[in-house]
């Protein structure tokens, strides 16, 4: 007879197997957390530099000879900046040295001075101390990205340039500040001027189009298939196809967008409209599958009770079943949209991998998207774009977190418990 009171060796094995399994599970969680921390940590470490900038103060001559008070916009602002730099460091007399000297400030300096003069006409007529954005080489030297102890031939900045920078630092003519322009500028070929705004707006517009198309279509398809469609061979084929569609590589949707939306319908190339439609083809299957699953999870008693009270099937679905399934549908939609947010491959085919400075004002204007911006900056030769790349990834992650938070908030508001 088996003894049920004293623990057998079998029971011991079973218990230790259970313990082991729990430790495997904890190990898996720890491993994924470590990866996450390493990834986010290295991105934050590399990208943090992009949120500060360096500015240099230079005394410029805005006398009547340099800037005509009647027509300030006609002045040669670039020359004024260059003259001011020459006056600051008169020892640079050779052409090559002067070129290096002019390279201390961003090559946007002339335009910066123009904006300053047009905004402050009262400052005209004498010498004025104006802050200019420092060049990217100057900036990353101060951030310590460049090792100034290595041999002169091996770095971008010569001893002479570093000497000038040190003089400026000693005289208090250098200030570091938060890089607001990173959030207010569009893309630029100068790392010190490059900003994320055009890509951010492009991504937002693209996702808006994607949402407006895929959400209603996805929900209607899911509700029909789940609640109304007869179960036969034909609806089986549709179901299999939707599941297959979810696994199609995204570049295929890009090619479809190129041949159908651009070439057949003649929609504008590089526009968020086309981008959003292409991405919504990609997110549709995800939304449909998630929506069907959450509709199926609504207890049949709800449906039957509504029908029993005399509601028509449409009323039962829209008044009772769909609202209960909505939180699940939302989650599916957000997952799909998050996928769409990170997608570059289909955008390549429809011309959204592009250099765009102007912030798009509508869904018909050329735009780019956040992941594309990351891709373009990662490919740029300038060293200072490295930190911009990581900073753009941070912005993308924040965008994603905001989207997920929105989903959680919406879910909390609509969630009903039985």
């Amino acid at each position: 007879m088996t003894d049920f009171i004293t623990p057998s060796s079998q029971l011991k094995t079973r218990k230790s197997a259970e313990k082991r399994f729990q430790w495997y599970g904890r190990g898996a969680i720890i491993a994924s957390l470590v990866f996450l921390v390493v990834m986010v940590g290295s991105i934050l470490y590399k990208g943090s530099g992009a949120f500060t900038t360096t500015d240099v103060a230079i005394v410029v001559d805005l006398g009547p000879e340099a800037v005509d008070p009647a027509n300030p916009q006609d002045a040669r602002f670039e020359k004024i900046v260059k003259d001011a730099l020459k006056a600051r460091f008169p020892e640079a007399t050779k052409r090559a040295d002067r070129r290096k000297l002019y390279g201390l400030v961003s090559n946007d300096a002339g335009f910066e001075l123009e904006r300053f003069v047009l905004a402050n006409p009262d400052k005209l007529g004498g010498e004025v101390r104006v802050w200019f954005r420092a060049s990217d080489d100057f900036d990353i030297l101060l951030k310590g990205t460049v090792d100034r102890t290595v041999d002169e031939s091996e770095r971008r900045l010569s001893d002479q340039e570093i000497g000038w920078i040190d003089t400026l630092l000693a005289d208090g003519d250098v200030k570091r500040g938060f890089n607001w322009s990173f959030f207010t500028n569009g893309d630029s070929r100068e790392p010190e001027l490059a900003g994320i705004l055009s890509a951010l707006v492009g991504s937002a517009l693209t996702l808006l189009v994607c949402f407006c198309f895929s959400f209603p279509v996805g929900i209607l398809a899911a509700i029909y298939l789940e609640e109304f469609a007869p179960k036969n061979r034909f609806s089986d084929i549709i179901e299999v196809n939707i599941n297959n569609l979810a696994a199609v590589p995204s570049i295929v949707f890009g090619l479809l967008g190129l041949s159908m939306l651009l070439n057949t319908f003649g929609m504008p190339r590089s526009s968020p409209l086309v981008g959003g439609l292409v991405l919504s083809l990609m997110t549709l299957p995800t939304i449909i599958i998630a929506a069907r699953a959450s509709l199926r999870a609504v207890p049949p008693s709800i449906r039957e009770a509504a029908l029993g009270m005399g509601a028509s099937p449409v009323q039962a679905t829209f008044h009772h079943v769909a609202p209960l399934a909505l939180p699940g549908i939302m989650t599916g939609t957000i997952v799909g949209m998050a996928q769409a947010l990170g997608e570059t491959a289909p955008l390549l085919m429809i011309g959204m991998v592009a250099f765009i400075v102007d912030v798009p004002q509508s869904i018909l204007e050329p735009a780019t998207a956040l992941p594309v911006q990351i891709f373009l900056w990662a490919d740029a030769p300038e060293r200072a774009f490295l930190e911009k790349t990581s900073a753009a990834i941070i912005v993308l992650l924040l965008f994603l977190i905001t989207m997920n938070l929105l989903a959680i908030v919406l879910r909390r508001r609509f969630e009903k418990r039985f």
Binding site: E154, V209, F211, F215, G351, A354, I363, A378, P381
Partner: protein, 344 residues
């Protein structure tokens, strides 16, 4: 409710801008990823200094750009395409078939392709012939036969080369840099064998296969289109060499060094004077039918061909473009601004 407001506002946004959308008022540029940094720099300057909108520049690759460019005349097609090689006879024909008959060619400068390694190792000095022997799939023998590449170490080819494993990281076949490298470096080295040179006349297909095929046994590693990645891999592995554009060497001069090829180092002046053997010309092509239709094209050309831009001390030189000689620039500017037709 939320959805409804969102979508209504999206439609409002779309219709608000729909009115002026027909006549495009923004220049569209496509093409080579090598010319992309230069084209975008000019585009940005142009947008800032004139009342025109900043042109949209897409990076599609030289071949992809020319395909779009030659698709026809009209609002949906690009106005300008960049190329890191000259337009081909066949592409001119496709263009003409689609109604793109008048094309303006603009050569903008040179780009050097460098073979570089980490500064931790010694600088390499290699001839084109030896470089070909190291990277070719089949190597030509003395008597007109070919054998699969037997070399695994650099010093097996030439005792003067270092005794390290051959490992070269380079661009994949889709890249324009790879095309140029194969044409200039590989073919240049291949031709140094006498019987191969004669082969070109007798059997040009066999010649091309021999000279243009890079080995696939792992000594040449396709490292993707991203040159920054190659630079990082070189820093991690001092024995490896990488192939990329001159501007990346210039920006990373503290970490990597360029190999001397045929005794010439990849330096700015030496590439500009044509002494460095692996350098290519960069171009862009303008659709003449769009000049006057899309505002600003003529002014954009003027900006590109100004001394401030493509001159010896222009801002494009700062970005790594190697300028043409004074005479070439003067002649080029005249032809481009005068909208002279392409002649092959």
């Amino acid at each position: 409710m939320f959805t409804k407001t969102l979508c209504v506002s999206a439609i409002a946004l779309a219709t608000a801008a729909a009115a002026p959308a027909f006549a495009r008022d923004q220049i569209k540029i496509v093409g080579s990823s090598t010319v992309f940094p230069f084209s975008t720099t000019v585009a940005e300057r142009f947008g800032k200094s004139t009342e025109f909108k900043t042109p949209v520049v897409e990076s599609t690759g030289s071949g992809g750009g020319l395909k779009l460019f030659c698709a026809g005349v009209g609002e949906d097609t690009p106005d300008i395409t960049n190329a890191s090689r000259r337009i081909k006879e066949s592409e001119v024909k496709t263009c003409a078939e689609n109604g793109v008959t008048d094309i303006v060619e603009a050569k903008i400068g040179y780009d050097g392709i460098v073979l570089a390694n980490s500064k931790e190792s010694d600088q390499l000095s290699i001839s084109l012939g030896d470089l070909f022997m190291a990277l070719a799939k089949d190597v030509p023998g003395e008597a007109g036969e070919t054998t699969p590449n037997p070399y695994t170490m650099w010093n097996e080819i030439n005792p003067e080369l270092p005794a390290v494993k051959i490992e070269v990281l380079g661009p994949p076949p889709t890249s324009g840099t790879r095309d140029a490298f194969v044409e200039l470096a590989m073919e240049g080295g291949c031709k140094t064998v006498d019987w191969v040179k004669d082969l070109k006349k007798t059997d040009s297909d066999a010649y091309k296969t021999l000279c243009h095929t890079i080995r696939e046994d792992g000594a040449y590693v396709e490292a993707g289109e991203n040159d920054n990645l190659i630079v990082q891999k070189l820093q991690a592995n001092p024995d490896a060499f990488g192939i990329f554009g001159y501007s990346f060497l210039e920006q990373n001069s503290d970490a990597v060094q360029g190999a001397m090829i045929n005794g010439v180092a990849p330096e700015f002046e030496l590439i500009a004077e044509g002494d460095y053997p692996v350098s290519r010309s960069l171009y862009f092509y303008v659709k003449k039918a769009h000049v006057g239709e899309v505002p600003g094209i003529e002014q954009f050309l003027a900006e590109f061909t100004s001394e401030d831009a493509w001159g010896e001390e222009g801002y494009l030189a700062d970005k790594g473009l190697i300028p043409m000689t004074d005479a070439e620039r003067e002649e080029g500017a005249k032809a481009i601004n005068g909208l002279m037709n392409l002649s092959m």
